[in-house]
Amino acid sequence: MQKAILSTKKLCKTFSTGGNQQHVLKNLDVEIAGGDFTVIMGSSGAGKSTLLYALSGMDKPTLGEIYFGDQEISKLSNDKLAVFRRNHCGFVFQQIYLMDNMSILDNIIASGLLVTKNHKAVVQRAKQLLQRLNLDEMMWRKFPAQVSGGEAQRAAIVRALINSPEILFADEPTGALNSAAGKAVLDTLTELNEQGQSIIMVTHDLKSARRGNLIIYLRDGVVCGECQLGKYVSGDRERHEKLSSFLNEMGW
């Protein structure tokens, strides 16, 4: 097993609204190995997205520690966390969130130029990635609203990859897409994982979950169970049954 790229110790996250406290994550200990395609599942309100955003440094924990390798990131300032995210993380959101006043290509380059001033290299890499994810050159200069949801999400994946992140975080990446577009996005993520890209994905969709090799199931802010599946192979019935059985066991 590879060394843990991300880990948490007694991670807690509490939200206070109107004097009420909601404990979303409770003393969570999680380890994510490099190269894994980790899928976080659970019922609504279980704390999936909260965990994802805490792990990615987008939100700070209330208590506990988060480590990126040996570096504790839970104590970093907001600006240091921003630098951490740009250098080590890539994000794919359910709502895609490309900046709608920029072309597809500009969205990607803007992220790339945050890390390096080598303009030529960024443009070149953006174009390579777009080609690699089968995004036709015709749409590079279009605005996000002018392309389909699937194309926009693949563009968002390119944006997430532009800085060669150690971890790609995906929050319900197929949630807003039709099944064909969703499959294309999942295929892309699977392919990236096969090439060594660490991915952490939140989903409540079984088809999406099948792509992962480690399933973490949350309920009421605690890890109920984990399931190691091995690498995804299309049509692997035994792997599919193992996941179904795990999820049944978790009460999904």
Partner: protein, 777 residues
């Protein structure tokens, strides 16, 4: 209900708009009260004091009984009066400076209806050595009751004890340079014996209407000053002064009022632009709400009315507070202007004017609001529910990151700027308007308060370092020669103001041997007169007679008349543009015994005028009626006006800064609210708060810079054309006031730097936007 909900939702926007309207109404009301209420106040005060509508001051030797008879018979005259006074040049002291003015001593015990001493505030019994001095000495000179008051009259030093201050309608304004002092019977008798040459008569008349004084003055001058008997008279103590001229000597009030009103109108325009922006922005932000309201059956008119009511309501409240605030500001300004007008003015609330200002602004806001909400008519409920997506334009993507190199925050800022051009244009227009007002205001202050030479030349004509008036005009040539030979003197020449009659109009004539020697260019077309049959005439004279260059005019001086050819047009506010320049040779053809008794002296650089005057007086003091340090006199006359303009200019600059702050606050806050998701996303991608703040500030900096440069350039280069337009009526066609280059540049830089810093400060709220809000909202 909807309007109230909208205001509650956008409290800070409502607050900013309220502040804009408040400032506009505040300045508008102050400006209008000063503009429209000073004249009635002056008239009321004049009535209270039973002030004359025509005042004639003449040395005793030139005063005849038939003059008073003429006055009594003149149509419209209700009442006349003749008083024996003493009049001559005198030196008075204000703070550290010594100034020359026409001084009139009047017997305080003389029975008078029109010229009695009108004391203000407390007074002391007028004892032997007591004196009543004009109120200006208190407000501009800081004199107090019981103070020692020193006057140099006709070369002799006199000391008095101040027993009271008089409010004067005809004399006593800093700009009029005529001061009347009341002394007790005994002192007056002593002075009459001591200064026999100063014995004069003050003839005054009250007419059916105060405005009739001006025509009476012109007719009097025609009847008595352009006659054979008076042809040799050029004494400054033979003149007639109308009620209008006395009022105009307080012109600072109206100039200040015009300046404030113009500024208020600029702020009003800015407020209307901001209100339009606010409404359009409200519609954009509340697009889905509008869609929902339409979907559930609200009519267009109901939705529009809610928005119009919201903004009109804000304008109404802002207007009311503005009017209340103006009542606090007015006494301060009136007090400031007291030092120039020398009248105690306590302007109160003018309900009618306040109501009109408020109504005017409400109607404008209503019109702008209706204009801005008209797009709701065309908005389909479904499109509104989708957030008005069809209105987005994807046609242009400027500053392509693929091709544009440079710092990322800067490129993204430029991208954002290009995508919000309408907003950018709005901000540019506002900043340009405010910068224009600031630079114009500062330029006026600079030219009035700091370097008034050019401004003064517009008003008074030639402005030498020193001026001398001779006692014996037969020695003029010798004295000029003597002065020219002194090492401190660059040049000295005779330069005389003389009253002439041309085409039935009384004009102020300027006589000298060679007009090229003058240092103030009063000519704006043609050339100065060179030969004995040539004249240059003032703009107002040319306009009222329809004369052009090359035309002939008849000129009368002391009964003799001759035709002169117009060689050029001159401009001067002196005598309202009714001026004429004539050569020494020219005046000799109609007034053969003319000689100069006034001499202009220009000193070498670095010469101390006061020391020079002392030295000349020590050597040849007995030959001068008076010698004056012109620059010092100007400084005193203009110091109070300078102070007033300094306050007004500082106020304008402060309001400009405040408007810039408010505009940036509104625009940036709106932008941050609108782009909250985008900013959160950028943070998620790794942009730091500082990068986003910098990006935001950089987005607005070029806009501010462009607006500032445009406005400042407008103020810098447009000052003279605009002033010329306004001052044409006063006889000035082409003003050439120097705009202060350094001040203008500093304003540009300061406004831009301020805008950047303020943008950064306002954008600091970006720190509160967390990437997590992407999922939590």
């Amino acid at each position: 209900m909807l309007a109230a909900a909208n205001i509650h939702k956008n409290k800070s926007q409502a607050g900013s708009l309220l502040l804009f309207v408040l400032i506009a109404v505040l300045f508008l009301n102050v400006g209008l009260v000063l503009l429209f209420n000073f004249d009635p106040f002056f008239d009321k005060r004049a009535e209270l004091h039973h002030a004359p509508h025509l005042t004639i001051l003449q040395k005793a030797e030139y005063t005849q009984e038939e003059q008073l008879d003429w006055l009594k018979r003149y149509s419209g005259v209700n009442e006349t009066e003749k008083l024996a006074v003493l009049a001559d040049y005198g030196e008075y002291f204000m703070h550290e400076s010594k100034n020359v003015a026409a001084v009139i001593f009047q017997n305080a015990n003389d029975s008078s209806a029109m010229n009695k001493a009108t004391l203000v505030g407390k007074s002391l019994p007028l004892e032997e050595n007591g004196i009543y001095v004009p109120y200006i000495m208190k407000v501009a000179g800081d004199y107090r009751l019981g103070d020692d008051y020193r006057l140099n009259f006709d070369g002799q030093e006199l000391h008095f004890t101040i027993a009271g201050f008089t409010e004067e309608m005809t004399f006593g304004a800093l700009m009029s340079d005529l001061y009347r002092f009341y002394v007790p019977d005994k002192a007056f008798a002593t002075f009459s014996a001591q200064f026999p040459d100063s014995q004069s008569y003050l003839q005054t008349a009250r007419m059916e209407k105060s405005s009739m004084g001006l025509q009476a003055q012109l007719d009097y001058e025609k009847s008595f000053y352009h006659t054979e008997e008076m042809k040799n008279v050029s004494s400054p103590f033979v003149f007639a002064l109308s009620y209008n001229a006395a009022k105009e000597a307080r012109s600072t009030v109206s100039i200040t009022a015009l300046l404030i009103t113009a500024f208020a109108l600029i702020i009003l325009i800015v407020s209307l632009i901001v209100i339009h922006f606010g409404i359009v922005n409200n519609i954009d932000e509340g697009m889905t709400n509008i869609g929902a309201l339409k979907a559930i059956g609200y009519r267009n008119s109901q939705i529009m009315l809610s928005i119009v009511l919201q903004f009109t309501g804000i304008a109404f409240v802002g207007g009311l507070i503005g009017i209340a605030a103006s009542q606090l500001m007015l006494p301060v300004l009136a007090n400031l202007m007291e030092s120039q007008s020398a009248l105690i003015w306590k302007p109160g609330l003018d309900t009618a004017l306040a109501f009109k200002s408020l109504l005017f602004i409400i109607l404008l806001v209503l019109a702008v609001s209706l204009w801005a909400v008209k797009r709701i008519f065309k908005l389909h409920p479904l499109i509104a529910l989708r957030g008005g997506l069809h209105t987005h334009s994807f046609k242009r993507n400027t500053f392509l990151l693929e091709k544009t190199q440079g710092p990322l925050p800067f490129i993204l800022a430029m991208k954002q700027l290009m995508q919000s051009k309408k907003q950018a244009v709005m901000v540019i227009v506002i900043i340009a308007a405010m910068s224009f007002a600031s630079v114009a205001g500062m330029s006026i202050y600079y030219n009035v308060g700091v370097k008034p030479d050019v401004f003064l030349s517009m008003i008074a004509g030639e402005n030498a370092d020193a001026a001398f008036v001779l006692k014996d005009r037969s020695r003029t040539d010798d004295v000029v020669q003597y002065l020219q030979q002194r090492p401190e003197v660059r040049k000295a020449f005779g330069y005389q103001h003389i009253s002439l009659l041309s085409e039935n109009i009384d004009v102020s004539g300027f006589i000298t041997k060679d007009f090229e020697q003058r240092e103030v260019n009063m000519l704006f077309e043609g050339r100065y007169p060179k030969h004995d049959n040539e004249v240059a005439v003032g703009y107002t004279f040319a306009a009222s007679t329809g004369k052009k260059i090359g035309d002939a005019v008849m000129v009368n001086a002391g009964g003799q008349e001759k035709e002169f050819i117009i060689t050029g047009f001159i401009q001067s506010m002196s005598s309202g543009g009714l001026n004429m320049m004539m050569t020494y040779d020219g005046i000799l053809t109609i007034k053969p015994d003319f000689t100069f008794d006034q001499i202009c002296v220009y000193l070498a650089a670095g010469t101390d005028t006061t020391i020079f005057l002392q030295s000349v007086k020590a050597a040849e003091g007995n030959i001068f009626s008076y010698a004056v340090n012109t620059k010092e006199l100007i400084r005193t006359q203009f110091s109070q006006i300078g102070d007033i303009f300094a306050v007004v200019a500082a106020g304008m600059l402060a309001v400009t800064m405040l408007v810039v702050l408010l505009i940036l606050y509104m625009v940036i806050k709106t932008m941050i609210l609108r782009k909250k998701r985008e900013l959160g996303l950028q943070k998620a991608l790794g942009f730091t708060t500082f990068q986003l703040m910098n990006q935001t500030a950089l987005h607005y900096t070029p806009i501010i810079l462009i607006g500032t440069i445009l406005g400042s350039s407008g103020g810098y280069f447009g000052l003279n054309p605009i002033l010329s337009l306004f001052m044409r009526g006063a006889g000035i066609v082409k003003t050439n006031l120097p705009a202060p280059t350094a001040w203008t540049i500093i304003t540009c830089v300061a406004l831009t730097a301020l805008a950047y810093l303020v943008s950064m400060l306002i954008a600091w709220r970006i720190r509160k936007i967390s990437p997590y809000s992407l999922i939590s909202e």
